[in-house]
């Protein structure tokens, strides 16, 4: 018994020795936690995008935010706030007004990346206006070249945002497969060889819309939300081919139904608000 006690003591002593060995205290973090330098633009973006919507606008260059093989550059700091205001007025506020205070807070990309330069596609006569990544980030290019006295210049990035936001909505609620069956025969990867006018005569609202059903749907959304109803109707009515015109009208009705059914938003009311905002931005 005595021996057992001795063995027991030795075992526990060894364990205590091990458990006490090389004990380190908790020290301060080795990660750099110093506050970043914030300029006026940074503060404004925090107050108007990060705090209310949890949306970050990344305009300070990080080569990993864009395609490293493209020759791109950051925007002028002076270009950032006007572009952000355009997003606020012509995208966030209209959706918030009709979809409710939490609409954009709940369904939105968490980051926007602003690049100052145009994004030329290699070996192709095209440029990329914007990129949406997994519903979490939208990259807008040529922010330095927005002309707030020219409505066409302002429509272009907003069209990109409405287009990419359409994709994000589709990621939350998939579009009806019947949409892609309206006129699937002329979808093509060589869409850039078509003009918008030619594509419309085939039943697609834009040339890019004739690339696939997913792009077709969000091109309809973006065209509707960057034109007034009268302008959009005029575009459709200018189509010579009656069948193509009917196909686009059918797509329009499916887009409207999608918004109303799944998000309780009347897209024609949304159209009024977005177009009014665009005009206000230019004026």
């Amino acid at each position: 018994m005595k021996k057992n006690i001795i063995y027991t003591f030795l075992v526990f002593a060894s364990l205590i020795f091990v458990s006490c060995a090389n004990e380190d205290g908790v020290s301060t973090t080795q990660i750099d936690t110093s506050a970043p330098i914030l300029n006026e633009t940074d503060v404004w973006l925090r107050e108007n995008f990060v705090s209310p919507y949890n949306i970050e606008i990344l305009y300070k260059w990080n080569i990993n935010n864009t395609d490293i093989d493209r020759y791109l550059h950051p925007p002028y700091e002076a270009s950032v706030k006007p572009a952000a205001v355009a997003l606020q007025k012509a995208w966030i506020e209209p959706y918030t007004a009709l979809g409710g205070e939490n609409f954009i807070k709940e369904i939105a990309p968490r980051q926007f990346v602003f690049a100052g330069s145009f994004n030329f596609n290699p070996n192709s006569p095209t440029i990329t206006l914007g990129v949406a990544e997994a519903g979490t980030r939208i990259t807008l290019f040529n922010v330095d070249y927005l002309d707030f006295t020219d409505i066409n210049s302002i429509i272009q990035p907003l069209k990109t945002v409405h287009h990419e936001y359409g994709h994000i909505l589709n990621q939350n609620v998939p579009l009806d497969p019947a949409y892609g069956q309206i006129n699937p025969e002329n979808y093509t990867a060589q869409w850039f060889n078509r003009t918008d006018e030619f594509a419309r005569e085939l039943g697609y609202i834009t040339a890019y819309g004739s690339s696939s059903e997913g792009e077709d749907f969000v091109e309809m959304v973006s065209e509707m939300l960057t034109h007034s109803k009268e302008q959009f109707d005029a575009i459709v009515e200018s189509i010579q081919d009656e069948e193509a015109k009917a196909q686009i009208r059918l797509k329009e009705s499916m887009v409207a139904e999608y918004y109303l059914t799944h998000f309780d938003i009347d897209i024609y009311e949304l159209q009024e608000l977005t177009y009014a905002a665009i005009q206000e931005l230019v004026n």
Binding site: N39, Y76, F120
Partner: protein, 460 residues
């Protein structure tokens, strides 16, 4: 049972000893600090160097020294995260402010986070280089720090890029940086031909073995030269380097390696309008020469076209090509300005060559066409090819009364072809201008009497 318990205790004891024995191995401390601390320190060191130079830095940036020349910047890094800079990239030299950061990336990185002069080299809208610009970047990895000179690289062009910062040495950044940039741009203009400059711009290598001229082949858009030396065997010796301009001349990168010497720094000599690099008693000189570095055999091929009777056309309406010299442009522009007073304008000129000179009158013919006037025709002798591969023709007079009366209008063009020291003709492939491309054979003719005159046109 007792034995089993006893054995277990022994086993536990041995295991504990083993655990202790394995615990707390001593290791060699390679670094005093943890990796995160060392990265932070490296960033702080760079930031301190950048911000402690209150008069800023001179930055020399070669984006890709196998494709482009370099650009000089002057930069002042401020503690509030802003950087003020100017550059000699173009005529817009006003100091502008933007943001920068020192970050941990693949290593310590200097990032120009908002747009400023530095982004001119990554501007994909740059005319002539759409989509790529100078293939530059906004992100630079710190590569070395030697004697206060910081060298960075662009990870995309690691072997051919260099971004070097050295303290400016200024006492007044605002004033002196602009003065330096202006001086640099002046040097950039000095290498360009003027109206009176010879079209034969050469790189002349002069050493104990003699003098050799390379055709410089300087690309003003890319700031890049590909000098070529053509041997009579037809073999080519080619150099290539980017050029960065300085307040006193220019530097080349990579250095010119020629017959055991290395040339980097060229000083501008105003008297000779040339850039000279002197190394160990040898020189490399960039100059406008009176004679081309090499005259090809093209003239013999030309003499066979259309049975020895090729017809040459120069028409401004077909678009511009940089091979037509400023001196030749000046002749046409002056003529046009004169004609405009009378509601007339220059249309084109045609030269009917005859490479079989029989000594007859009017074997060669120059026809000058002016909108609103009859064609003006001037007789030349047939063309004679000389041993040095130049060719010679002589003016014989007007072919008719109208041409005689209006000869003063065509006199400069007549003089061009009537070069007493002959002409040089070179085939240039198919015709290409800034407006049109044709399959017609393109050709240049240059005067050796007045080497500021060269025309690019086509045979038809």
């Amino acid at each position: 049972m007792k034995n089993i318990l006893k054995n277990n205790y022994v086993l536990l004891f041995i295991m504990s000893i083993l655990l202790v024995a394995c615990n707390s191995d001593d290791s060699n401390e390679v670094f005093d600090e943890a990796p995160a601390n060392r990265l932070t320190q490296a960033n702080e060191e760079l930031l301190n160097i950048l911000t402690s130079n209150t008069q800023g830095f001179k930055a020399s940036y070669f984006t890709k020294n196998d494709e482009f020349g370099g650009v000089t910047f002057f930069m002042r890094f401020n503690t509030d995260g802003t950087v003020d800079m100017t550059s000699d990239f173009d005529d817009d030299i006003e100091i502008a402010s933007s943001s920068y950061e020192v970050r941990v990336g693949t290593t310590t990185e200097l990032v120009f986070t908002t747009r400023n002069h530095i982004q001119k080299v990554s501007d994909p809208l740059l005319g002539g280089l759409i989509g790529t610009g100078f293939k530059g970047t906004s992100v630079f990895q710190l590569f070395s720090n030697e004697d206060g000179e910081l060298e960075f690289k662009d990870v995309r062009n690691r072997d051919t890029s260099s971004f070097v910062l050295e303290p400016s040495g200024f006492t007044d950044f605002e004033t002196e940086s602009i003065e330096m940039v202006e001086a640099s741009i002046e040097q950039k203009n000095n290498i360009l031909p003027e109206v009176t400059s010879s079209v034969f711009q050469v790189l002349r290598m002069d050493n104990a073995n003699g003098t050799v001229d390379f055709n410089l082949n300087y690309d003003t858009l890319r700031l890049f030269a590909t000098p070529t030396l053509t041997l009579d065997s037809g073999d080519l010796e080619e150099l290539s380097f980017g050029i960065i301009f300085t307040d006193t001349g220019l530097n080349v990168n990579p250095a010119i390696e020629y017959e055991g010497e290395s040339y980097t720094e060229f000083i501008y000599d105003e008297d000779s309008n040339s850039f000279i690099s002197t190394v160990n008693g040898t020189t490399a000189t960039i100059l406008f020469s009176d004679w081309p570095a090499y005259i090809s055999n093209d003239i013999y091929e030309m003499a066979q076209i259309d049975g020895g009777l090729p017809i040459f056309l120069y028409r401004p309406g077909l678009g511009a090509n940089p091979l037509t010299s400023a001196g030749h442009d000046n002749i046409i522009e002056s003529l046009d300005a004169f004609l405009a007073q009378f509601g007339l304008s220059f249309f084109d000129y045609i030269f009917f060559f005859d490479f079989d000179d029989n000594g007859n009158i009017c074997e060669g013919l120059l026809r000058v066409r002016i909108n609103g006037l009859p064609s003006l025709n001037y007789c030349f002798s047939g063309a004679t090819i000389n041993d040095d591969r130049t060719f010679t023709m002589s003016f014989q007079g007007a072919a008719d009364q109208d041409s005689f009366d209006l000869q003063f209008l065509a006199q400069d063009i007549i003089d061009f072809f009537n070069s007493s020291q002959g002409m040089v003709g070179e085939l240039e492939g198919s015709f290409q201008s800034d407006t049109f491309s044709y399959i017609n054979l393109a050709v240049t003719f240059a005067s050796l009497e007045d080497p500021s005159l060269r025309v690019y046109g086509l045979f038809f």
